[in-house]
Amino acid sequence: MDFIRSALTKTKSISHAIEELAKTLHKEPALVLFFTSTDYSFEELTTSFSKKYPKAQIVGVTTTGEIGPNGFEEFSLSAQSYSSQFGTINAVMMNDIVKYPIFERENLVQAAKAIGINTQSKTVEKEGLAFVFPVGLQAAEEKMLSVVNSIFAHDGFPIFGGTAGDDAKFDTTYVSVNGDISSTGGAVILIKPNVDFYILKENNFDSTGKKLKITKADAQKRIVYEMNGIQATEAYAKAIGVPAKDLSKYWSLHPLGRKFSEDFYNASPFDVKSSGAIEFYCQVYEGAILEVLQPRDAIKEMQKTIDHFTNHFGELYGVLACNCILRKLQFKQEHLFQPLNDRLKQLPNLCGFSSYGEQLYKSQLNQTMLLIGFGKLRVE
């Protein structure tokens, strides 16, 4: 079925690039998502897409690497279009997710109501889903998630998303919704789809068995001062078995994970502060016990993920992926793009990006890859 199409271009001229993408995308889509390198002018792209598809809702996100029909790419422009038969869609910009996201709550309630999502439903997981694309570098993802989730009376509304990036410059990230651009906000796309969907989280880390207990932290700033009662850097370096001064060279292979049953919710370190404290890519709080993780074989995991994912579908129309920047950096360093892409391109109409954080339901995650597929689920 022709519900979803995706395309990627490396053409640098924006008008040419959009024309090139348009050859593949729907002629009159209901929604266009675009994920772009900072090599392109985000403002110009936002305007040009709106001009090209005046009837469509258009959401744009800056990235740290794009994902297209052939898998991982860099310094490119990737886009995905959804046909009007796909479902009812309402894209909303939350202008401020950093300080007062609560001001946007009513707007979200109305947007959900407008497309018939019953926010009071007890089976809220059947009411639809939302994509969220918060801006990065503001430590604001959890705030955005808490407000988006707060519009539902019961837990369980499917929320899927990734944090905007800026090609690892760590300066400013942008999102845009229907022509509005923000560097402090987040895009929320509420969807009541006519097709089935399935979400998968790939976590290619195992526990090393070593545990770290956060003994002093500031959840708001995402900073951990002490673990196991000693300076955070020291404790972390000791757990990995490297000198404290070299910690940041090794930690992307050893993120910390909060264990729930057999699964880990990863928290990745972002920066060492001069005091020896560590800033993370997600909220961390005192008392939490985290396990030091180690990576599994990336290619084997990817194959497993894709097999498991595609196995859920009788028919798969299109896939959206959010992959953590740290994974991307590791894959690039280890020259794994080619073998991973050989597997990723099995997914039809694939689109997405490498992100500064991944959002799933109520959590802000790190060092994971999220896949959402639309199609017909296999009836067991």
Binding site: K99, L145, S146
Partner: protein
Amino acid sequence: MLKSLFKKEHLAEQVHQEVLELSDEEREQIITSLEELLNLLKNASAKNTEGDSIFMEHITDIAESIREDQVILKATYESAQVIVQETEEIQQITESVESQVISNRQLIQEGSNQMNHLSEQMDNVSGIFVNVGESINELQKETGEIMEFSKLIGGIADQTNLLALNASIEAARAGDHGKGFAVVASEVRKLAEQSKNALNQINGKVTQIMEYMEGVVDYINKEQQTVNQAQKMSLVTKEYFDRIELSERGVSESMGTIQDATEQTLQQIVKFKNQLEQVVQSGQSSMDGIETLYRFSEKKSYNANDMITYIIQIKDLVEALKNNQL
């Protein structure tokens, strides 16, 4: 005064106006209190999350301990299963040995019966030999009588010869008158001699027969001994068969005992195995319970996250109120 109190609308308006007219001091107090409450909320939330973490830590410990127990229990269960299988095999083997013993006992019975038949046949043969011996005795007696008759006839022949000699002497004395008689007497003598010769031949034959018969008697006596020996042997063999049968009966009884014991062992082990299975299942359901606790604690941790972000947001709002600007 009373009248004005009953005018609710008027009262509400007054209160409303009072709120609008918060003094700077009151405003300051509200903000300070809000901040205090926020701090209290923050501390409460921190305690809550810490409590959650401790809770999780304990659950994880319990889960790990159960998981370890499960591994041991599963191994024990598998061992019990192997023992059950092996005991069942032993049971099958004892069963097949027992049926083998039964068929052996049948064969022994048949062999014993065959020996009985053989013994009977031997008795018959022995009887026949006895009869033959008796007949030969009779025959020997009869032959002896023939010899007696032959002696008697020999005497008669000798006498006849003597008489014929006398007659011929008398005939010679009678001269010519006796010539004819002498011829007769001579003929009689010849006949008597011929009779004697014939008798000698008969005697020779009878003696030969007697010798043959003695040979037969010797032979029969020897055979009789052989038959007797065979009879004795068949009796011994029959005894062996009886002893084998007795021993097989012992084997059969022992097999029965083994079977009973194995049956009991099997019942005990199966009971043990089922009990183990129950323990494994109960461990499994404990794990399921812990799984639920994990999910519960996962949800709780999301709520804690929400709480923290809500507190942060209220803090920002109080800050805005304090600074009188967003």
